[in-house]
């Protein structure tokens, strides 16, 4: 009731609705990112969770489908929490774990939008990437305790101000009503839109990829090749320098 009321008047959102979640998030992040002596974990967690809940209450729009709303909300909340945790966490190994959770939640969102293949591919690619990153962290991180550069942040105040402004601008821009001309041009409901129930998603996606974007596919393969060579060159060069 209250939620649908909020959702309907979202085009004319008052400044407090825009500002309160952002302010809560800024306060929570400042508490969590303070210097180690003044760091307060529990109020910071409360503030960050409050920011997520406040953002859900003020910004979120409900569609009619209850199950879809619940799943979408769960994945979005999990993703936001994990992303906050990744930025607040001081140990890089735990940051990488939080990042894996973000990827999993995002893959759930992909699945909800009818992108089953993208979801699976993301999990495969990022699972490999995260395993490699893990190896790197274990190899390179300090073995004895936390290093200072993991605990102390670089200019958290300025970053918070710019991040809060960026988020406010993005949310404001998203909430603006779409101009009438472009709304008429876009198909409102298309039966060929991908849905989670589609079974031939991969076939259509492959056709789109190799018919509409053939040149881009070739360019991407060249890019991968160049990246492999670049990696080899840099690795051999640095090994020669270190010797």
């Amino acid at each position: 009731m209250l939620l649908t009321l909020f959702a309907q008047q979202s085009a004319t959102m008052n400044p407090w609705e825009l500002g309160i979640p952002i302010l809560l998030g800024v306060v929570g992040y400042m508490l969590a990112a303070a210097s180690p002596q003044r760091r307060q974990n529990i109020p910071a967690t409360v503030c960050l969770l409050g920011a997520i809940v406040a953002a859900w209450f003020t910004w979120w729009q409900l569609s009619g489908n209850v199950l879809e709303d619940v799943l979408f909300t769960c994945f979005a909340g999990l993703m936001a929490m994990a992303a906050c945790g990744m930025q607040v966490e001081t140990h890089p190994v735990y940051s990488a774990l939080w990042f894996a959770l973000v990827i999993l939640a995002t893959c759930g969102l992909f699945l909800m939008q009818g992108a089953a293949f993208i979801s699976a591919a993301t999990i495969i690619v990022y699972a490999g990437a995260i395993v490699v990153t893990f190896l790197f962290v274990i190899m390179l991180a300090r073995q004895t305790g936390k290093s200072t550069y993991d605990v102390r942040l670089m200019q958290p105040m300025l970053a918070m101000v710019s991040g809060g402004l960026l988020l406010a601008a993005l949310v404001y821009a998203i909430q603006q009503p779409v101009p009438v001309a472009s709304q008429a041009a876009a198909p409102s409901v298309n039966m060929s839109a991908p849905t989670p129930a589609d079974t031939n998603t991969l076939a259509v996606l492959g056709r789109s990829l190799f018919v509409d974007h053939l040149v881009a596919v070739e360019l991407a393969s060249v890019l991968l090749l160049v990246a492999i060579f670049g990696t080899l060159v840099i690795a051999l060069q640095s090994r020669g320098q270190a010797r």
């Binding site: 992108a115 591919a121 990153t133 990246a227 640095s238």
Partner: protein, 153 residues
């Protein structure tokens, strides 16, 4: 705008801002790299939502390209981190504040202090060349890494 597209854009915005924050504030190179991946993921979320809203598969195709670029970026970034770590034994990004050559003197403060730029000095200073290339193997204790590390402290 359907609620699903709107919510996806909202989630993408939040994720992108969180990634930006991490990229700006964290000093560990690996965590900065993960934050950049977070931003890429936010963009992929937006692309898929737009593709769904327009009823075609272009958004998903673009996401595959984003994934490709992310994989290339991961490979190059991690090997660069390894090379940088071998130089200074640190993942701190602020070690690399100046990527220039450390033995070339900084001319900017003098330029700012001086009023007359075009006055010819009696003893003009010439630019110095920093040593480049591999050192000849005269002794066994070569390696620019140790020299650089000692200079930085």
């Amino acid at each position: 705008m359907t609620p699903q597209l709107y919510n996806s854009l909202l989630i993408g915005a939040v994720l992108f801002v969180l990634g930006t924050l991490g990229f700006l504030t964290r000093r560990n190179l690996i965590v900065m790299f993960l934050s950049a991946e977070l931003m890429l993921q936010a963009v992929a979320l937006n692309l898929i939502a737009f593709g769904r809203a327009h009823g075609n598969y272009h958004g998903q195709s673009f996401t595959i390209f984003v994934l490709t670029v992310a994989a290339c970026e991961a490979a190059i970034a991690l090997v660069l981190f390894l090379a940088l770590y071998q130089r200074f034994n640190s993942l701190d990004v602020s070690v690399w504040h100046e990527l220039g050559e450390s033995d070339v003197e900084d001319v900017e403060p003098e330029l700012l202090a001086e009023k007359e730029f075009f006055q010819v000095e009696e003893f003009p200073t010439y630019p110095t060349l920093s040593p480049a290339g591999r050192e000849p193997a005269l002794s066994k204790s070569s390696a620019g890494t140790k020299k650089g590390g000692a200079k930085r402290g």
